[in-house]
């Protein structure tokens, strides 16, 4: 059974890239472009892992994390962002990992493996 990942990334091309690469790595990936769609997906089905950007139009990644926590879904979350500086933001501590976007994706893949195998 493939592990299910929910990917939230507002940059269209980047979203496509992550989706393809994670599928290639053996995961089942649901990719959405904003936090609102992410919350709808979470209501409909369960995921093994959520990967989200922070800065997004509409609801941002921090708000998404807060909502997911409020729903008492026990699902690990990885923040994948272009900002290094948010690492010090106390709300990002709620996430299980903080990854700064990189084209190699090795760090992201390693964190996923660490969290859900």
């Amino acid at each position: 059974m493939r592990k299910k990942i929910l990917l939230v990334e507002d940059e269209k091309n980047l979203c496509l890239l992550y989706k393809e690469e994670l599928k290639e790595a053996g995961y089942s990936v649901t990719a959405v472009l904003d936090a609102e769609s992410a919350l709808e997906s979470i209501k409909k089905q369960s995921f093994d892992l959520i990967i989200t950007d922070i800065r997004m139009p509409g609801k941002d990644g921090i708000e998404l994390i807060t909502r997911v926590m409020a729903m008492r879904k026990d699902v690990p979350i990885i923040i994948n962002t272009a900002y290094q500086s948010y690492k010090n933001d106390f709300m990002t501590w709620a996430a299980d990992a903080y990854v700064v976007k990189s084209s190699s994706m090795a760090e992201l893949k390693a964190k996923i493996k660490e969290l859900i195998g």
């Binding site: 091309n13 980047l14 890239l17 800065r55 272009a82 900002y83 990189s102 084209s103 190699s104 994706m105």
Partner: protein, 451 residues
């Protein structure tokens, strides 16, 4: 009954006491847009302005790290020169501005001879047993040196430089910091330095110390603000460029994989091309923002300017039910600005208005006289308005409410208007609309000629 008095006394009365004259000169200099060095020059000037007022010569040293460095030395180089200078300075009715102007030119001419002798010298402040002049700063005490040739605590090199047997050292201090030192003497008149002179000089020293301290704090504050703005900018640019860079890198890696399906290769190349365009657009916008150069302000026909703006927006509203109206007050014909940039600013504002409207709505572009020689150009829309949470920050760089926005549009508009000597203001209510007003210089109304 009330009496009104002015702060600035341009002239001194003959009976004004010496102390009052000195403090008046110093206090008044703080009203002037002088530099730090200028103001210190004023303090030294006040202490040396004529034979009856104070000392003959004043030397300024400023602390730089662990060194005391010579800055300038004010005073006549010889008794003959002193006579002519003091005659000028004690002319009845001469004001502090004249004295300062005199001393400023003095420093760059003949007194250079004195200043040159000390600008090259410095004394270490970190010595375990410092000699005068460093001693006054290290011990944080005022030191009066008498019979200097027989005083072992005076640095021999300094004694050769100052070449007089009595002088006063006033350290410049503030809080825990050491800022410099003033050294005063009466080498020309040979008058002894009395208790009253020392008191006067010490108060001037406190003022000078405090003044240097405040100036340094101010400069540090400006630097910190600049650094903070730079940091914020760097963070934003990093983020903006990292997304396309990561996307390009990722899709290139796929292409480099020999197992990657041929059918998808062209798609990857297209995405890479698109993302490179995104990066170029970001760099172009940043370049525009930082390189803005306003040309000369010229008379501009306000109707023509607004027409060009509406012409530019027409294709964008062709498929929507947005209407753009233009209205110019009859008596207003000419404004003064850089038409190219102000036109760009107005197009920017109209584009923002279009974004705020969506498919329907109205934009009013109008120009009217605000006063005899000021015009106000308004860009008004009945769109969604600016949220209260960002209203105070819309003219700050890198603040955007748009998904792909860099937050450079409105700061750019503001920079243009500022550079044209104008002013911009905004009025906005959520759900009702936004009005931007640009205040620019206008040609005064022509007087009606009598018939």
């Amino acid at each position: 009954m009330i009496e009104r008095h002015q702060f600035l006394h341009r002239e001194f009365q003959q009976e004004t006491s010496k102390e009052l004259q000195v403090f008046s000169i110093i206090a008044q200099s703080f009203f002037q847009p002088f530099s730090l060095i200028d103001n210190l020059l004023v303090i030294l000037t006040a202490l040396t302005a004529g034979p009856g007022v104070g000392f003959n010569r004043a030397m300024l040293f400023l602390a730089n790290g662990d060194k005391l460095e010579g800055k300038f030395w004010l005073g006549p180089a010889s008794a003959e020169k002193a006579a002519s200078i003091w005659r000028v300075l004690s002319t009845p009715g001469i004001g502090y501005l004249e004295i300062i102007a005199h001393n400023r030119s003095f420093l760059s001419s003949e007194a250079d001879a004195l200043t040159k002798r000390i600008t090259e010298i410095s004394y270490p402040l970190s010595d375990a047993s410092p000699l005068i002049p460093a001693l006054a700063v290290s011990s944080r005490e005022i030191i009066l040196v008498k019979d200097s040739w027989h005083e072992p605590l005076v640095a021999p090199h300094f004694l050769e430089t100052i070449d007089t047997d009595e002088f006063l050292c006033i350290p410049l201090l503030a809080e825990q910091e050491v800022l410099g030192e003033i050294i005063l003497d009466n080498a020309i008149t040979k008058l002894p330095i009395k208790g009253r002179d020392i008191e006067l000089a010490s108060i001037c020293g406190l003022i000078a110390g405090n003044y240097i301290y405040t100036s340094r704090l101010q400069r540090r504050l400006v630097e910190m603000k600049r650094a903070a703005a730079m940091g914020e900018m760097a963070m934003f640019v990093t983020h903006q460029l990292r997304n396309p860079a990561v996307t390009i890198g990722g899709f290139v890696d796929q292409l480099l994989d020999p197992k990657f399906p041929t059918a998808k290769r062209k798609r990857n190349l297209q995405i890479i091309r698109d993302e490179v365009l995104v990066m170029e657009r970001i760099l172009l916008r940043l370049g525009q923002f930082f390189k803005l150069q306003i040309k000369e302000q010229v008379p501009v026909d306000v109707r023509e300017l607004l027409n060009l703006v509406t012409e530019a927006v027409r294709p964008k509203i062709a498929d929507s039910s947005v209407s753009v109206n233009t209205e110019v007050e009859e008596s207003l014909t000419t404004i003064f600005c850089d038409p190219l940039h102000v036109g760009e600013a107005l197009r920017n504002l109209v584009d923002n208005a279009l974004d705020a409207l969506g498919p329907t709505g109205q934009i009013n572009l109008s120009a009217r006289r605000n006063s005899a020689d000021w015009a106000v150009i308004s860009v008004q829309d009945n769109g969604r308005g600016i949220p209260d949470s960002v209203k105070g920050k819309i003219f700050e760089a890198f603040v955007s409410t748009k998904p792909q926005g860099m937050g450079l549009g409105l700061p750019y508009v503001k920079r243009i208007v500022d550079a044209c000597g104008g002013r911009i203001e905004v009025e906005s209510e959520e759900g009702k609309g936004t009005t931007f007003r640009l205040y620019l210089k206008a040609k005064p109304r022509e007087r009606e000629t009598p018939r």
